[in-house]
Amino acid sequence: MREVVFTDYALMRMRMRDITRGEVREALEAPRSRHFFSTKHGRMNVRHGLSVSGRTIVVSYEERGGQTVVINAVREKG
């Protein structure tokens, strides 16, 4: 798996939303679904149900220079 890096903005959102780096990595490794957005660099959203908590998170990222740059993470209702 590529190196995963987090933007400051993503870390702030994760802190508020109580989402850990480990949960984001879990979602990136085994997503339930993927959704591609046509942006300059190509943005991907992955949706994943966490194995421990059962919560569903959505992680937004872009691939840049051999790295996976996590730019946001959201915890969905339910």
């Binding site: 903005y9 702030m12 802190r15 939303r17 109580d18 946001n72």
Partner: protein, 141 residues
């Protein structure tokens, strides 16, 4: 209330709470595509997030002009007209300097408006400037 923006990835966050506490958001609801609402465990609105501001608002997050936003050491130093080292030594260390909104592993973050108010007050009244942990020496009679 404060605003954060991710200029590179065109994201914007309007924090309506008076803090950005860990775990303060219980759930996130998508209001419309690209606009999400962060709610606390009582269902109260904590923040509004806009992803892809260019297409939603018509202006990229990087080009929006705000009166106050969250800034790190680099930006805070620039506002103060100092380099980072001098800002940390001469301003951020003062007892009465605005407290950071949040301190992360990546650094401290202030509200730009609070720093600007502090600098304005200092310029007008000169009533700022006690270093943290220090006090003025006693006056000799």
């Amino acid at each position: 209330m404060y605003i954060e923006r991710d200029k590179e990835f065109d994201q914007l966050y309007i924090n309506l709470a008076d803090h950005s506490g860990e775990g303060s958001v219980a759930e996130t609801v998508e209001a419309t595509p690209g606009v999400s609402l962060d709610l606390d465990d009582s269902g109260r609105l904590v923040g509004i997030e806009i992803t892809g501001a260019r297409s939603i608002v018509g202006t990229p997050a990087a080009e929006m002009d705000f009166t106050g936003e969250l800034v790190g050491v680099k930006e805070a130093a620039k506002i103060s007209g100092k380099d980072k080292a001098n800002f940390l030594r001469d301003l951020a260390s003062r007892e009465d300097f605005p407290k950071p909104i949040v301190s992360l592993a990546s650094g401290r973050y202030w509200l730009s408006a609070e720093i600007e108010r502090y600098l304005h007050k200092e310029k007008i009244t000169g009533q700022t400037g006690s270093p943290r942990g220090q006090c003025n020496p006693p006056q000799k009679p």
